[in-house]
């Protein structure tokens, strides 16, 4: 399977492995490549934004041009030409859609192919979906049902127009405009994403999810998501992502902010399956993402669960700021790298309040020439009395050309803290594989079973149907990486 020549059979085999690699042939309205203040004005105008939003973007842009791209991650890639990217692309359709009937059937078909039917009769029960295609949200299901419970679930571009007070209050309150190179770029050029607001005391009656799809060539996707759970509210949110197979790299620089007030709970799950590039490392998505949650209220709880199997490069550290007393942060992660994929991922847990607890369970799987890095920081501030953290960091290696690296940092400013760190590195044991083969399983079934077993602690944090999805995805991703 390491042959460097491309034959039609191999192409077919390759596309079998990444079954979301198709392109939707749809007419789109795409901005010319390049990034200047006028690009930002164009995006803001396309989105019919109020003046304050444009000002916010321009402020970010003016800061961004003074910033340098970070070089500390353990990933290598050729320099990105930010002037060669198009920052806005939207499928052409009549503006101001009133119902799904007006959505281009090609788009509905695309999401159906991805396993996310949007039409009313086919929808997944109990899951509301916001479908983001390139730079715009094309449909959001179950909005009326959610509205009855007081939950707002809509594209963020719409929230900026319809709920400006909430957006102005919370946007940038967790990830400041000047936070980091990619986040600041996102502030300047973000196009769409989801907005969730769960009011005081409301348990969101269904799972919310956003499905991100990159389709257009030479474009970047800059998604922005903001989730707010008021006092005593709870919500579970899931995002999925896929993209066509292309020889060029595409940039996805997202920012996600979560805010949990007193006694609120937010569970945020990601199944990231962007196109990973081919076996020689051609193409694939650069997934440079800033995700952060703020446990602002006492006893608030934010939990991140991520299954990262796609992208040629993943750079993301979903983090928690544990500000409220007794607040709780969790990070459960599975990152799989194969082919030439590189992942530098982990989390930051910042303990500020008293009696704050955090749990980190990170599982890295490296196959073929994949490089997997766990980078984590646990920081206990001086006032964080009786803070507790448990970190478990396990790496699984398949073959002898891959790599696993861990960079855990602990900064403890309070002597009452309890910190635990466990780390293991293991190889998929020949003995384990042989045992399963001897019981009649094929080699791929055997490896998939072993790897899924390795990930079980993380998968059980996912909502049921997505845990099944994650298990399947992992098995598909591992096909062809055995032996």
């Amino acid at each position: 399977m390491s042959s460097s020549t491309t034959t039609p059979e191999l192409d077919h085999w390759e596309s079998q492995r990444y079954k979301y690699g198709f392109v939707t042939d749809i007419e789109s309205d795409t901005a010319p490549p390049g990034l200047t203040e006028s690009t930002i004005r164009l995006i803001s105008a396309k989105k019919q934004e109020p003046a304050w939003m444009l000002e916010w973007r321009l402020k970010a842009f003016r800061h961004w041009i003074t910033m340098r791209e970070p070089t500390w991650p353990k990933v290598t890639y050729p320099p990105i030409d930010y002037q060669a990217i198009s920052y806005y692309s939207a499928p052409k359709q009549s503006p101001g859609l009133q119902s799904l009937d007006e959505v281009d059937p090609k788009l509905l078909e695309t999401y159906e192919k991805l396993g996310i039917p949007l039409e009313e009769q086919k929808r997944l029960a109990g899951v509301a979906v916001d479908a983001v295609f390139d730079s715009v949200s094309v449909a959001t299901t179950f909005r009326e049902e959610l509205a009855k419970a007081g939950v707002i679930f809509c594209p963020i571009s719409e929230a900026i127009r319809d709920h400006p007070d909430l957006v102005q209050k919370y946007l940038g309150s967790v990830v400041p405009v000047t936070d980091n190179f990619f986040a600041t770029l996102n502030c300047a050029v973000f196009t769409d994403g989801s907005f969730v607001f769960v009011p005081r005391g409301v348990r969101c009656p269904m799972e919310l999810s956003t499905y991100f799809r990159i389709n257009a060539k030479s474009t970047g996707q800059f998604e922005r998501t903001l989730i707010i759970a008021e006092e005593g509210a709870s919500v579970s949110y899931l995002e999925g992502c896929t993209a066509p197979m292309r020889d060029e790299n595409q940039l996805h620089a997202a920012v996600v902010e979560l805010v949990a007030l007193d006694d609120a709970t937010i569970r945020y799950s990601t199944i990231q399956n962007w196109y990973p590039g081919d076996d020689e490392g051609r193409g694939g998505i650069y997934n440079f993402v800033t995700k952060r949650g703020k446990c602002l209220g006492n006893r608030s709880h934010i939990s991140w669960t991520q299954v990262e199997t796609g992208s040629s490069i993943t750079w993301k550290y979903p983090s928690c700021i544990l500000q409220g007393d007794g607040s709780k942060g969790e990070f459960y992660s599975v990152a799989l790298t194969k082919g030439r994929q590189q992942a530098d991922t982990g989390t930051k847990m910042i303990h500020i309040g008293r009696n704050t607890t955090s749990t980190i369970v990170a599982k890295g799987i490296s196959a073929q020439q994949g490089q997997n890095t766990y980078r984590g920081m646990v920081k206990i501030l001086r006032g964080a009395e009786d803070a507790r953290n448990h970190t478990q960091c396990d790496s699984l290696l398949m073959g002898d050309r891959c790599g696993a690296h861990t960079f855990p940092v602990i900064e403890c400013g309070n002597p009452t803290a309890t910190l635990e760190h466990e780390a293991t590195t293991s190889k998929v044991g020949e003995d384990q594989v042989f045992y399963l083969l001897q019981r009649g399983l094929t080699e791929e079934e055997a490896v998939s079973m072993i790897v899924n077993g390795f990930c079980r602690e993380v998968f059980r944090e996912l909502p049921m149907e997505f845990a099944v999805e994650a298990t399947k995805l992992l098995s598909i991703s591992l096909e062809g990486s055995v032996g």
Binding site: G429, D431, Q432, F434, Y435, L436, L437, Q438, R439, G440, L441, T442, E443, E445, A446, M449, I450, N452, G453, F454, C455, R456, E457
Partner: protein, 274 residues
Amino acid sequence: MLEIKNLHASAQGHEILRGIDLTVRAGEVHSIMGPNGSGKSTLAQIIAGREDYEITEGTILFQGKDLLELEADERARAGVFLAFQYPVEIPGVGNVQFLKAALNAVRRARGEDELDTARFLRLLRERMALVSMDERLLKRSVNEGFSGGEKKRYEILQMALLEPSLCVLDETDSGLDIDAMRIVADGINALRAPTRAMILVTHYQRLLDYVQPDFVHVLAGGRIVRSGGKELALELESHGYAPFMNGSPGSDTATIVTNTAGAGRKAAIAGTGA
């Protein structure tokens, strides 16, 4: 059922098996005994399809098919079962999930329908009674946190569930206390059938107090240096393997005695009074 002819095998350039001949027919139980390092486990692993060995000469036919042409998983689905000497732990993989996947893989290969969870669990409970396995163990991961005896019983349970045609038990008796030995032996005896053959690889004679083999073979220096009935095991028990050790590699004095079915049967009957 199984026909091994002139089998030579080596690992890392070192010859371990130096011409094994062995014929096992359906319904028979053969015991292969021998000192440490004689090649007993190697033979068991090669039958099961472990790839760490190079077969330099010889053939293995299983039900008339060339076994060496089949991958380990194909052999398993064709009915070859190895009860491991050291069953490996697989963290995070639940026993029920594992057993069900294995059974359905084998059933598919036999042209039988797959069992759904309810039917599977019914069958599993029935077979668990055979080896007195605690149902709570099913909640754990494969072999994880099992005692030595539980691991061995679990191997027998898998054998009972998968119903293979050829069972190779690699030192299943090692590390068992007397009660566990009896349970394992009862399990093995219950699985003896006219359509099924068994090879018991063992160092000590004591398992044979409970399971009566039809034939006993002594393996030393990579060859079968003697074959006989049950009485051969008793002879080994009193004299040890030393008398056979001059038949070790390089020596031409080894006598290869072919199976004498009559003697074996007689011995087996004689021993049943115990």
